[in-house]
């Protein structure tokens, strides 16, 4: 496998993960693929997708909508890949239309691995879904648990882990690309 790098970006909603990931991509080579895992319906997703599209405009991304089965995805070329996000992908792989669920762990992990094999740099966005105090139904609890386990697994595989707080990147593992150049 040629050298590839994986950067995992985490943090709560609207903490600046997407903007920061896109900014990192601007210093990384073309082609740049944006893998959109959010299905365009329900829970305000249309607004969110429109907003993300606006933010990505002019940054040279080719958008690929892929809601499930990353293992079956073949990218046209090797390049910089931004996957947004693990929470949507996990929900899509986990629940069927009747709300029944199966453990998505292996599928999601293998899907990310497939993307990585086709990437120079793979940036993966996830979320701190587990930091929540409400009493949820068993399916939602299983979903939170699955994302926690997936995050841990991806963290072991990632070269760099970055937590975003108020738009500020806090590096938890490794070193960001071009970090040494920036400091000079």
């Amino acid at each position: 496998m040629p050298d590839s790098e994986m950067i995992l970006l985490t943090g709560g909603s609207a903490c600046g993960k997407s903007s920061y990931a896109e900014e990192l991509c601007l210093s990384l080579p073309f082609p740049r693929y944006y893998i959109a895992a959010m299905r365009p319906f329900g829970d305000g997703s249309e607004e969110k997708i429109a907003r993300h599209r606006r933010l990505r405009r002019g940054k040279g991304f080719e958008t690929i909508e892929r809601y499930t089965d990353l293992q079956g995805l073949v990218l046209p070329e090797r390049g910089t890949v931004l996957l947004e996000c693990i929470c949507n992908l996990t929900a899509n792989e986990m629940f069927d239309e009747n709300g029944a669920w199966t453990d998505p762990y292996e599928t999601v992990v293998a899907g990310v691995e497939t993307l990585r094999r086709q990437s120079g740099t793979l940036l993966v966005i996830t979320n701190e879904v587990g930091a929540d105090s409400r009493a949820y139904d068993p399916g939602t609890r299983a979903y939170m648990d699955a994302i926690g386990r997936i995050n841990q697994r991806l963290a072991r595989q990632a070269d760099v882990i970055c937590e975003l707080v108020c738009g500020i990147p806090l590096v938890r593992k490794g070193r960001l690309p071009h970090d040494s150049d920036r400091r000079r």
Partner: protein, 120 residues
């Protein structure tokens, strides 16, 4: 302006007190003549669409304290979701222009941007 963030009960207010602010300096979910705004997230949740309008007035404050509310399951309720996102985005913009940003975890402050001024 110093931005102080962290979860509920993480020690944000106590930390502000170590900077020399007392009860009478702290405005709870209000923007008035006092130098510290506490519970910014409550102000935002009350009117998520108006969050941007708060920015300049908050930048005039000495300290802004906000709960981190973006973690966990995305709420099904639209207004709750908007409040959460507006709080996050406003904090990103405040952090960009803040002199310092401090994050509290288990009462432990970490300066994640800039430098703190001396005690007032």
């Amino acid at each position: 302006m110093i931005l102080i963030v962290g979860g509920e009960g993480a020690g944000k207010r106590s930390f502000a007190e170590t900077l020399g602010y007392t009860e009478k300096d702290i405005a709870d979910a209000a923007i008035d003549g006092r130098p510290v705004v506490y519970h910014l997230e409550r102000l935002v949740f009350a009117q998520p669409e108006q969050a941007d309008a708060l920015l300049e007035r908050l930048l005039e404050k000495e300290v802004v304290i906000c709960c981190e509310v973006g973690s966990g399951i995305i709420p099904v309720d639209r207004s709750e979701r908007l409040g959460r996102e507006a709080t996050g985005r406003l904090c990103v913009r405040l952090a960009q222009r803040a002199q310092a940003v401090v994050r509290l975890v288990c009462g432990i402050p970490t300066v994640i941007k800039g430098e703190l001024p001396g005690k007032r």
